[in-house]
Symmetry: C2
Subunit: 456 residues, 2 copies
């Protein structure tokens, strides 16, 4: 009996090994396709040229919807459609101004309104400014020192974190919640140090939100060099004053827009979905090349690769380009609500929204047995320098609303070192994306989807 069990185990082992050998051959073909024949780099060039500014509700976002739908149609996906969703429409208005007055002198500082920020009115506002290290410092200063002033949050992006997303998570509360926290003490506006390790003159925008218990004061980002300069001047001239002007405003809360969706029909389980995607909207500062044009073109390329290599998927593969990730998540919420309403069975969802940099791995949350299964494939990815397999999380902002509906939510992890040099800044442009890095990402995402489709 023991003997037969051993034989059985060794046969099973051999089968597994053989399957892995087979899989490694197919994965090699997939990644070679990505590096030699994929179109994702040229599609990203087209997207960033056709619609560099595509914040939700804007004409650029409309153009992007049409552009990407046409790309999917030209690729010959089995079905391509637009899923309506209603998005906020915020506009930046005229170019922002920030002028520092001290000791009879004046200096312009590089600044950009945060997304969703109220404006100063067309006359702008002038006030003394107080530098604040962190929220604890703000609270200790209180109304007495804050009232009537512009609060300058100079919390640094922590260079000591190895993964730059941890530095972002550490700092982003000042951008997101800083305005209302300061308005509570009577601040008239806030300036936030940009969330980046780079020392340069490019401000980084990004979402903020108001707590409606307090006045909606303007909130702007300073470039890191401007923040250093302001801090330096304040140390020597605490009476320095700032003039700021921004005419940004929320135009409407509910403008019709769309998620763009394409599918390859499953040959065995046409009613079970494997979802891949990124978000199509982008901040108006740069061209949304890394955030998240890269994720869009990589996940379209997953379906394109299956089609071109004639890898007929067992499940239906669906790519979703979500609208409004940056300032509302309305596309993601609409998609998840519809998926639930229609009882669409999702077996796996993956988002690529961390830039088009060289692949490092995946972060996978959800059902632990399924995650273990995925982790058993690690070896197959080593030839592609994919070594990081983290457990947990919900894959990405756009697929997180599928939690509870989809058993596995995965996020693609490219290298993080350069991402925040470009994130939400005017340097997030096509020329900052390396063709091979982008393509390798598309390749390894497709390889993972191939295995999920085969073994789930």
């Amino acid at each position: 009996m023991k003997h037969r069990l051993l034989i059985l185990l060794s046969v099973l082992g051999a089968t597994t090994l053989c399957a892995q050998e087979n899989d490694s051959v197919v994965i090699r073909r997939i990644v070679e396709f990505a590096l030699t024949r994929s179109s994702c780099y040229e599609i990203l060039r087209g997207l960033t040229e056709c619609c560099p500014h595509r914040l939700s509700g804007s004409d650029g976002a409309d153009r992007a919807v049409n552009y990407m739908r046409d790309v999917m149609l030209q690729m010959g996906f089995d079905s391509v459609w637009l899923q309506p969703c209603y998005v906020p429409y915020w506009v930046r208005g005229e170019k922002e101004q920030c002028t520092l007055f001290y000791n009879g002198r004046q200096e312009a500082l590089a600044v950009m309104a945060l997304g969703n920020s109220a404006g100063t009115g067309s006359l702008g506002l002038e006030a003394p400014v107080i530098e604040v290290k962190n929220f604890r410092h703000l609270d200790s200063l209180g109304k007495k020192h804050i009232n009537g002033k512009i609060v300058f949050y100079n919390y640094p992006f922590q260079d000591a974190f190895i993964n730059q997303f941890q530095a972002y998570a550490d700092a982003v509360a000042y951008r997101w919640a800083g305005a209302s926290r300061a308005a509570r003490y009577g601040a008239v506006a806030v300036l936030v140090r940009s969330m980046t390790s780079a020392r340069d003159n490019h401000p980084h925008t990004g979402s903020m939100a108001y707590n409606d218990s307090f006045p909606r004061i303007p909130a702007l980002a300073l470039s890191t060099l401007a923040a250093d300069r302001l801090s330096d001047v304040l140390r020597r001239h605490p009476q320095a004053r700032l003039y700021i002007r921004n005419t940004s405003r929320m135009m409407a809360d509910s403008v019709l827009s769309y998620n763009v969706i394409g599918e390859l029909r499953g040959t065995v389980y046409p009613d079970r979905f494997i979802l891949v995607g990124g978000h199509l909207d982008a901040w108006d500062a740069g061209h949304g090349a890394h955030d998240d044009g890269a994720g869009c073109v990589q996940t379209i390329e997953v379906l394109n690769t299956f089609k071109k290599l004639n890898l007929r998927p067992r499940h239906t593969l669906r790519v979703v380009l979500f609208m409004n990730e940056e300032n509302g998540l309305r596309g993601a919420l609409t998609y998840a609500a519809e998926a639930r309403r229609k009882n669409e069975i999702h077996v796996f969802a993956l988002e690529s929204d961390a830039g088009g940099f060289v692949p490092r791995g995946f972060r996978i949350g959800g059902d632990s047995i399924l995650i273990d299964k995925i982790f058993s494939w690690k070896k197959l990815f080593e030839p592609y320098y994919v070594h990081v397999w983290n457990r947990g999380g919900s894959g990405g902002a756009d697929i997180a609303p599928l939690r509870g509906h989809c058993p596995v939510l995965a996020g693609f992890l490219p290298d993080s070192q350069r991402y925040f040099n470009h994130h939400h800044a005017d340097t997030d442009t096509f020329d900052q994306v390396n063709k091979r890095e982008l393509e390798l990402g598309a390749g390894v995402i497709t390889a993972l989807v191939y295995l999920v489709d085969k073994y789930f």
Copy 2:
């Protein structure tokens, strides 16, 4: 007895675990220092500004020697000195020309002489051109079709290799040996497709050598776009002719130059050396930022980090900035000969000469027991996304001559995807180096040296 053995083993295990915990704390300090307080990025800025062109024998190379010696002196190393070596001195001469004539038209093609190439003479030369796919193709054409012509090697850099150094190894013979292989059949000059995946108009130079059985014909690199264009025109107009002109020449075979060397004296084994280094010379096309300014500043930073963190090394740490890696290796040969002559005991040598990109790992050759010891430290490097530990090789061109004298030769492996976009081209400039990627490299190299110093 068995019981006591178990206790002993578990105590040893605990000691190992405890040591690894301790080591992980020190390594964390080392990498944090690299990311927050290291000076390697600013030193690289200074080097590339002070002496962007520093090919062996040039004034720029002399300036670089002085600059880096001064850096080491300012860092307060225990000793800093110049090791004389005699290097070849090749000059590019005037800007090269390459003009394509076909069908009554003419077009300029982007071109650059290969290092060590002879010139055409000041009048240049004009001849018909024949495209050759590879050496087999060349041999099949033979004298009948080659004689009197310019041979155009259009062998592509293979995009399907994941590691770009493999694509380089695959293609580089056309650059290195193509001239004499073609001269054998009567070719009057050769043009070589640049060794890069990038499709752009930047030619990539690099070393070539002559076989003195055949005439020394000029050898130049075409940009990839120029190569594509020439190939396209030749397909339609096989009678097309090329005019090329380069005035490059070897000025002298033996000019005095130097390796730049700095040391921190060992506290336990002052007469045993751990060597780290890169090469100080660089092609004249770009500024040698990645190749190999990055390796120079990273390995200087190893000693600087020990000093600033007061990690007193047991062995003597020696950084060597080798002269003439690019076109002669004379600095490396001199260093190895002197090390042998003086019977200097080298226990470990590491070279960083693959660009200042994000770290991936190390390639380590030599004594297998020592390599096993090093590989037992892998886990300590995972928090820094260092996962690749390859066995074999001789670390790098500059330390390879130490083989047989030094038991372990290691090469630092940064990510390879972007390297050949810049390698030996005018785009190898400081702005293409990312600060954090460079610093992380310095940090993980220092961490490895720390462990070697502690456990060897």
